[in-house]
């Protein structure tokens, strides 16, 4: 994963609560066996007027002009603001893949669903929790000023407005570290191989029925 650097980006306002991952990336696109290429189908049902099909070229599809991501003023946006419980529903990691593939690097909301929140960090997408009041304020700012942008500074845990306001946010230190350094979780966990092995032997002694029962049938001779 790339290191997560400080950046400044246009903000797209998605003024809805409970945006679910079925909306972020509808199921017909989950048939892909790749991690990339989901951007054109991000929010497919809201973005286009027709029904999207997997592996279809989206460039000629009729656009829903009202939808935020189709409005000229938000083109090139990399920060999204939304309402509470963003990313609820299915655990599909295709949701953060679609958001990052489209170009988003951060989503700001008053709250996120747990699984989406977790998946985002693993894909270079920073979910930022800010209070309802501040989110309200950001929505107002975005609606008022064309080209409204925010600077996201993960190292210092602040979002900076162009008006010079610095809004602090919380982030889990481990996740922050992994994002900033572009680290792979698996590599970090494998540094604890000895601890895992030690736990495993103890666990097997206490609960032997958990081990050695499931086998691929090709392996059963």
């Amino acid at each position: 994963m790339e290191k997560y650097e400080k950046f400044s980006g246009i903000v797209a306002p998605l003024d809805r609560a409970n945006i679910d991952t079925d909306q972020i990336i509808p199921k017909q696109f989950l048939k892909s066996i790749k991690r990339t290429g989901f951007g054109p189908n991000l929010f497919d049902e809201w973005r286009y007027l027709d029904e999207g099909l997997p592996e279809q070229d989206c460039s000629g599809r009729p656009l829903n002009k009202e939808f935020v991501l189709n409005q000229e003023r938000y083109s090139g946006s990399s920060v999204m603001v939304a309402r509470k419980n963003f990313g609820c529903g299915s655990s599909r990691e295709h949701a953060p893949w679609a958001l990052t593939d489209f170009g988003f690097k951060a989503v700001i909301a008053p709250s996120f669903a747990d699984i989406f929140f977790n998946n985002s960090f693993k894909n270079g997408l920073l979910p930022i929790v800010l209070s309802e009041e501040i989110v309200d304020e950001l929505f107002r700012g975005v609606f008022e000023a064309e080209g409204y942008s925010l600077e996201v500074d993960l190292a210092n845990q602040v979002v900076n407005t162009r008006g010079g306001k610095s809004i602090p946010f919380d982030v889990d230190p481990f996740r922050k570290h992994c994002l900033l350094e572009g680290l792979d979780d698996i590599g970090i966990t494998l540094e604890d191989t000895d601890a895992i092995k030690a736990f495993e032997s103890k666990h097997e002694a206490a609960a032997p029925w958990v081990f050695n029962v499931i086998k691929a049938e090709s392996a059963i001779k």
């Binding site: 048939k31 991690r35 655990s91 895992i196 958990v210």
Partner: protein, 471 residues
Amino acid sequence: MTGKTLYDKLWEAHLVKQRDDGTALIYIDRHLIHEVTSPQAFEGLRIANRKPWRLDTNIATPDHNVPTTDRSVGIEDPVARIQVQALDDNCDEFGILEYKMNDPRQGVLHVVGPEQGAALPGMTIVCGDSHTATHGAFGALAHGIGTSEVEHVLATQCLIQKKMKNMLIRINGNVGSGVTAKDIVLAIIAKIGTAGGTGYAIEFAGEAIEALSVEGRMTVCNMAIEGGARAGMVAVDDTTVDYFKGRTFAPKGELWDQAVVSWRTFYTDEDAVFDAIVELEGADIIPQVSWGTSPEMVVAIDQTLPDPESETDPVKAEGMRRAYQYMDLKPGMTMGDVVPDRVFIGSCTNSRIEDLRSAAEVAKGRKVDAKVLQALVVPGSGLVKTQAEEEGLDKIFIDAGFEWREPGCSMCLAMNADKLGDGEHCASTSNRNFEGRQGYGGRTHLVSPAMAAAAAVSGRFVDVRELLANN
């Protein structure tokens, strides 16, 4: 020292290492794998040249994409075919047990895991699917994970976790007859909201939960995620232990006795403290139906649909207005005014044998109403299907005008050919009523299997208890 909750005990029994930064390494006992969220994880292993940590922990089956009609000819949809083939190839390459599409044991993973005894009490169980919470029904710590975590579990047998908070949801007293596990969980979500459980592990308890079978408890825990909680669970009791006896991967002989002693420790101590407690009265719960596009938009069958103008939270009111528009319904209507164009009985929430029995009880001797275009019954697994056929349930459904299908996720998320048309309403036993979930422009109403069958034979949503009274 205060006592421990069920969740505390499961957590501690699997804690490999507590790190200074507040995260912990948690050992995973079972990993269930399906075709949609795993291909990128296997690819990741290959790229990094890593091997699975253990093989005897994984079990796979394709369920999301598979057709539910005749499968002897394979999958017609080329994109779906590639994905199912990728699962087959990955399992073969790495040596992972998979019930392939035409295996009689194939089915929806969350039905297959417990049915085989692959998922057992006291275990940590994960799957790249948010409905993994289902397995909490038997005193396990089970939750959904994303694809990066699927890869992480394959490679390390662990997950990096932060301990969640404890929430107790207690149903005082039992529910009346004709009221099912599905009605209980819909009533719970209506009460706590779709984010009510965010950050919590929920334990369901109380007389109404104790009175449920393990299958009913699975229905309740299955939808913990619709209440925002990654994990839902119920303590181990005699019902739990009896359920697992004799299952394929359940321990046998002396090992069984040893396991039962261990499983019986998985309950909440009397003096344990919860961070939040929610109580509902069983007697107040009657059959439920969702009217909107979020699982919290639920009414009891005798209620009128709520008015957004009397909702004080403006964000919520706006969500309701959108839902009314999408669903083409109006405040003040009752669900009895709504005609289900299609009926779907299936999904990991409600496709086990008891679900099919309860729908069949309503369908028996009746006919699917002429206004209903299609009524599908999709058993949760090949074994459920066989059992239902042995009991003659298939005949009851077919005689009544339902279609009797092969196992899979089917119309729950419409990745295969089973889907709603634009604007169609569906009485569905699944778990999500999001916009477009069951097909582009489709309108889902979540109900129990008995309520779905009642809607099918009545041509509108009705209180199933009235039909049952005439049986």
